[in-house]
Symmetry: D2
Subunit: 347 residues, 4 copies
Amino acid sequence: MRERVRIGIFGASGYTGAELLRLLGDHPLAEIRALTAERQAGKPVAEVWPQLAPYGLPDLVRIQDVDVGGLDVVFCALPHATTQAIIRELPRGPKVVDLSADFRLRDPAVYEATYGHPHQALEAQADAVYGLPEHYRDAIAHTWLVANPGCYTTAAELPLVPLLKRGLVQPAGIIIDAKSGVSGAGRDAKQGSLFTEVAEGIHPYGVATHRHTPEIEQCLSDFADAPIRVTFTPHLVPMSRGILATIYVRLAAGTESGDAHQALADAYAGEPFAHVLPFKTLPATRHVRGTNLCLIGVHPSRIPGEAIIVSALDNLVKGASGQAIQNMNIQLGLDERTGLGQRPLFP
Amino acid sequence: MRERVRIGIFGASGYTGAELLRLLGDHPLAEIRALTAERQAGKPVAEVWPQLAPYGLPDLVRIQDVDVGGLDVVFCALPHATTQAIIRELPRGPKVVDLSADFRLRDPAVYEATYGHPHQALEAQADAVYGLPEHYRDAIAHTWLVANPGCYTTAAELPLVPLLKRGLVQPAGIIIDAKSGVSGAGRDAKQGSLFTEVAEGIHPYGVATHRHTPEIEQCLSDFADAPIRVTFTPHLVPMSRGILATIYVRLAAGTESGDAHQALADAYAGEPFAHVLPFKTLPATRHVRGTNLCLIGVHPSRIPGEAIIVSALDNLVKGASGQAIQNMNIQLGLDERTGLGQRPLFP
Amino acid sequence: MRERVRIGIFGASGYTGAELLRLLGDHPLAEIRALTAERQAGKPVAEVWPQLAPYGLPDLVRIQDVDVGGLDVVFCALPHATTQAIIRELPRGPKVVDLSADFRLRDPAVYEATYGHPHQALEAQADAVYGLPEHYRDAIAHTWLVANPGCYTTAAELPLVPLLKRGLVQPAGIIIDAKSGVSGAGRDAKQGSLFTEVAEGIHPYGVATHRHTPEIEQCLSDFADAPIRVTFTPHLVPMSRGILATIYVRLAAGTESGDAHQALADAYAGEPFAHVLPFKTLPATRHVRGTNLCLIGVHPSRIPGEAIIVSALDNLVKGASGQAIQNMNIQLGLDERTGLGQRPLFP
Amino acid sequence: MRERVRIGIFGASGYTGAELLRLLGDHPLAEIRALTAERQAGKPVAEVWPQLAPYGLPDLVRIQDVDVGGLDVVFCALPHATTQAIIRELPRGPKVVDLSADFRLRDPAVYEATYGHPHQALEAQADAVYGLPEHYRDAIAHTWLVANPGCYTTAAELPLVPLLKRGLVQPAGIIIDAKSGVSGAGRDAKQGSLFTEVAEGIHPYGVATHRHTPEIEQCLSDFADAPIRVTFTPHLVPMSRGILATIYVRLAAGTESGDAHQALADAYAGEPFAHVLPFKTLPATRHVRGTNLCLIGVHPSRIPGEAIIVSALDNLVKGASGQAIQNMNIQLGLDERTGLGQRPLFP
């Protein structure tokens, strides 16, 4: 019988940390060995996450108090920038899946331009593999360090990569109008995330400046003939979970929206977590709530030569913690689906 | 002193009917004379709209029991298609503001193609004026029949008309990604509008086929050099009120997004209900909740030669009942703002 | 190895039916053989429940087309009154868990007084066992027909039964102020369950007349020295799932609220799905979302001799489909927890 | 013609401050002269409250920079404890309506026991009148300092005072199970008020210890023969506005619930903002959203000798800023309804 996987979660007091704990409860090999949270070190899980009280989890500790050598896997769910300092100092040995943005951008210049400071762990970054399993699976299997993609970016990349790869959409003019739930903003107390500020309304934010944009462009460019630049507009929706990306593309000459649909269906035919809906059927975020699925639909536009593609995923699962476990499974040589069979919670 | 305006509301059991009653409570000249609701005729308002119980409103009756001759104004908030049959038979005399889609499309062929049956009141339709006050004010002042615009369409037209009029955006490639609250679907019991089906999620609907599209195109074409075709994608958001339209445009050669912003600011400088925010500031629906305001913001795109324009309004007010009262005021020669001074309800 | 359990779900187009399908996805022995929905017979599951499309479930059929003899278990999630007619005619053989109210009241007179018509399947009802596993476990194990408790009633009974059994609370003066999510009202299109009618507000309903009251009283009386009458006030909360019951009790002479807490903790010490929180810690519905847990907290009142007890559960799981599976497991002699290990989805 | 009322709002960056600005927009005599916010001094209103941008309001300043002598009225919407220090130093002259809890408790010992420190402005407090207009109207008219009641307390007091006054309910055994929207927690960034922490769930808080309890008991005791002690249990509901209080009372011997209803209807027959619904009709918070109304309903209990009374109000209006304006109107000798005619925003 397969041995248990000894897991540490660095940054267990945020939503992606808690979501790892929820999902790993279904992973038959997962053994949670260490949970860290600097400011809440010493507390039992029940105090930080009452919903996890019944599951016999270890108390929160500081990272410095973790026996990293005794771990097989570290999930790093720390804030941006903190992460690279931690990973730089980490003893080699455990597989690491980093849920932050720190290791996603390969070009240090792009990193610096995006985040306003030089990268502090370039050596580790050279080993990092972008953790979108459907398109970087082999490399993921061979690295110790996975840079788990962002939630918006997964929703943008899964529908677009196969189309760019096969030259079915024009590289110019891609517009990604994305809508996200509030958990994407994390658990820190911020006025802008208060119930009263978010409920009963919708608004755009980070327009033309959102930091996920270079990540999307890096990934899409990996699979296109030319560098890709996109228009990316995020909106905040009064829901806790979910991302919907409505993507407007100009089709390549001679391509119909039905061709684009077929190409996506073919590309993801064997994938456990990327599902293409029937032509003209479009997804809803609530149909993937709590699951590691990304649903993709394709619809013809009224404008000839254009198509509308819609993707939906749960930002905390396929957009974060579920995808992280999927990456871990690949790194460990396990069945990629292990622990990720949750069905959608609806309503 | 100015005389009272004797008002009838046909279809007072729907949300736009109730919203007329809310807003007219602030109109110093409004006198509610008749409220109709065919299936609920005979009931007191308190039974259909408990929130309106305290305001001494007349009981609901059938249309046939209304003394139309004794009315100065009829607001028609009836279902599509019913409306044209009613208005066709209405004795001339009162001003009519129709909130349905029945009289918005001027071309009978477009009407028939959109709604699947020939128009049944072409004579009345010949008199109908499209009730977007900011752009059809004079004609509104001289007609007995106003075709009050739809909620999505107002949100799309107000930002685009001045830009097309001045040739600042290209006529091709306009994409309107719109997000609406649930009240747009009305008060009829539908599974798709249940709380459980709508909360905690977002999804697109009516993609490439929504019936508001020809209306948007008719209006935009009125002010452009060439017929306009748009991409229009509505989404359902878990909120009761509000429409946000995120509009992607290609600027005319030599035009910057700042120019587009300035042109909009100039166009609406004197308007009471269309406000242009400072350049790069974008609106939120919750900042117009309960008001007759449409807020408009302009932001540069990352893609040179493109711009992102966002508009926000309350679909039941500027998108329906408030705009209807604004139209009535114009028809009656009153100050357009009368009764429409409500400030936003936030949070 | 244990054989598969062949399962039929009668009434698979309602929320409790869908929830059975979600939960049974985690049950290693469950084999879904038949799904019925009279009005939607012939449709694939994907059409009725898009979120269940990926799971290879059988198409919906009519009950008459089900081979009941080939089933080990029937979950009956049909509307009230329909149920008893169906179960009366059902060939004996499969275990039946009925999620409706039809077989919960043992006294035909009480049934008739509550539902306004005589019971139509008294023979079957004589075999029915009330399916609150924590208190009727042995009888459940030996019956073919389980009357699965209501959601409100489970939330009221679990905290009160042990206290009444041990005489720690006075039989008179029990007040149950309950708050429910909207899924309790089902998936039928009803005006009162529209998003717009439910969001951003709270209201009581069914005050002093709710049909769950006699069921609560029957169960509590089973464990008390005297017949119990309760005050039960349900409220509708703008959330899809969850029931919170705030229960006000008068303690027996000499009993402190700490004693009541201890008694509950003792009573449920070995129970997998009834958890008693530390003294003075009170639960939240969102901490049990998607799980079969009932959390219970006890707090002293400011009024000497009184205590406040709060319970929380997910109305679709421990309040319906999860409890139904728990009952099935007991009937089949399986580990009661099988398939019910889901952790809470939060946020 | 009546002169303008020159108004200052101290603490204009919180929700009650913003709500005063919304409501005073409808007050024909109100002239906003000064808005303060210590940490945001120097900013335009548009930056703190985008929804109020269109209304030409003065910039935010520090209290020390306000010419208090030039004001007729000061609304004090400052945090607890800060308030008493400010009011102590305020030059006499303007009428003051204080929305904090600082001046509500008349007994310094009760104040100290409740808030954990001695009161710092006992001289001013001696002049303070509890601002529940329906029951302290004359005293309000003659004081410079009104202690505006809390939101929960108004919802509890309006239904109970007339019944206690007339001896129709027993002084013992009153249970107030209250449900509040999130705006009651203010606009400060707190983890517990995040959308993600509040949406899709309900939970109790402050059970048996909430600081509004002594205020309720002081007011009820004012109108009862004996000191009143109550059970008061607040709950947090996923809505921005609204309080619903479900109140359980034991009727006096010989009193029926219909008598209680009649007494309430009589007591509030002439009141503009306290409405008693028909017997057995119970209110919903969404029917008073945005208004200064408190709706009250009475229902018989199943338990003989008991009744269930439900009240609903908007915590930011009748529970705070609307009631404050009502008090100002009384202090100034204006018609109490001035500026408070808003109709409910529904849906």
